[in-house]
Subunit: 312 residues, 2 copies
């Protein structure tokens, strides 16, 4: 079934210990859409500027991503500049030029209105809420946010949280949002704000999902932990979290029924797509992944985390 | 088969957000021995002072731990004072009174010489090396260390590492020991110093094992990740790592053959014993665990990390 994603389509200038990439295609919605496109149909709502041309469009259309909802505005596209050092776990933002994103008012094309799955990527919660309210019949809503919105736009974010089925955030954000330092207590406190389930991402350590009483009829009372793949080389971590979200939600949307087993596999597919994303700069790797590579890596995730498997 | 452990038997004064424990029984060898005692025979080499009496002895003997190798010296036992705040991930050491430990010269009782498994708990690498050299016929050697020895006793530690089958350390120690910031590269660099396999502990995120070419005949080229149990309440994290080591090594020693599957299950048992240890202050919880509780918790670890299981 179709996923509608609203978020940033942007250019990134990135420096990591492996080199530098100048104004490469990026943005949360871009990474999410590419990762999800390996599992299901994806439609994008975003705004871009004059610097977004046929070359960038092709990145989406080559993966059959529907970009009729990408609005073209006067000016330049959102441009993020950042660098990573040391173990590449944290980005240092050197510049955020919102450009056309500063006045973005998301409009949903008629053809998108019947999308079953909605993903609210990390943008201003006011915009997330606006899109959500225009999609009253959506089957499932999943969202992301970040420390900036938690700290300074708490009220708007609170409204969005009320409407979420699943929230994906990282450890620091979960603790910040809840005021709790313990992960389990933080998860409970965040779910009390609205989300029926929560996926907390731990970077190189994987992710943990928590289920509230309104998810799966309250039958899933235990968390579930999915590993990340230990990687000797991370070329560019930009978009890893969005790619995780794309793999996770793309797989969920591709399944006929949402069961606990499907949710668990979705977390593994999130890790799989995140592990591909960081192998190259920008969107380079996620533009070309073969289905067999996804299957193999899913098998690898199982192998490194499951007690029983064929032994060498 | 029997495990011989050399390490500290001490008293701890601990403050956590859950309260304060004054001079309770602690020490790496104590936590290790208690955790391992649920799986196999354990013998302890350590030194204690006049303050170690029948009450403390009973903690060991009630679990049928052989303490003929615990030497009684004049003076007081090793005493550590520390506190935890926030998310309890890191201890702040307030005092380290080595006392009788300052002049400790480990002696191995005749009856211990045929122990098949040796565990070198976190003590001065010179003492670790001395014990190791007196046990030439041991089947397997596993060891632990900490930042203090890595920073200031690198040469002595290098000698110990050469003789290890398995080293257990945490993320920070692996990076410090290797000079690498990437976990996989750090693991390779540490194994190049001697250990055939490495277990890196990630605290609340679990642990990852890495295997070098001399482990399992080089057939295991992939890491393995074991989860930790997300806990809403950690009363006292002191000894969690030693309890992990005890569960891990105790299970290994209890099995007829060391296979990759046994190693994987051992990592899960490490997590299981670590998760019990933190439920109460000091050794309180590990003094009384029922076999059924261990089995149940092992099942829980599987359930929170495996894709397939019975669904509610």
């Amino acid at each position: 079934m179709s996923i509608l994603v609203v978020g940033s389509v942007a250019f990134d200038t990135i420096e990591t210990p492996h080199g530098r990439a100048e104004k490469v295609l990026g943005g949360a919605a871009t990474h999410f859409a590419l990762a999800a496109s390996y599992f299901t149909d994806v439609r994008v709502i975003a705004v871009v500027g004059k610097d977004f041309g046929p070359e960038q469009e092709a990145v989406f259309t080559n993966r059959e991503i529907d970009i009729r909802g990408i609005e073209h505005a006067d000016g330049l596209s959102f441009h993020w500049t950042g660098e990573y050092s040391g173990n590449l776990n944290e980005a240092k933002t050197l510049g955020t030029d919102l450009n056309v994103f500063a006045t973005f008012e998301p409009k949903i094309p008629e053809e998108y209105l019947e999308s079953e799955y909605l993903f609210l990527a990390n943008i201003d919660p006011k915009l997330q809420a606006r899109v959500r309210s225009q999609m009253p019949n959506v089957k499932m809503v999943c969202g992301d946010t970040m420390n900036y919105w938690i700290a300074d736009h708490g009220e708007a974010l609170a409204e969005v949280l009320k409407e979420l089925d699943v929230l994906l955030i990282n450890d620091g954000e979960a603790k910040m949002l809840s005021g709790e330092t313990n992960m389990v207590k933080a998860a409970d406190a965040v779910m009390a704000k609205g989300p029926k389930a929560l996926v907390i991402k731990h970077g190189e350590y994987g992710a943990t999902s928590f289920f509230g009483p309104r998810m799966f009829g309250g039958t899933e009372t235990k968390p579930f932990r999915a590993p990340a793949l230990p990687l000797a080389e991370v070329v560019d971590p930009t978009g890893a979290g969005d790619s995780f979200a794309g793999g996770f939600y793309g797989y969920l949307a591709s399944q006929r029924q949402l069961t606990p087993a499907v949710f668990r596999r979705a977390l593994f597919y999130g890790g799989v797509m995140g592990s591909f994303a960081v192998e190259r700069f920008g969107t380079e790797r996620l533009q070309h992944v073969r289905q067999a590579e996804i299957d193999d890596r899913f098998g690898l995730f199982r192998e490194i985390s499951h007690l029983e498997h064929t032994e060498g």
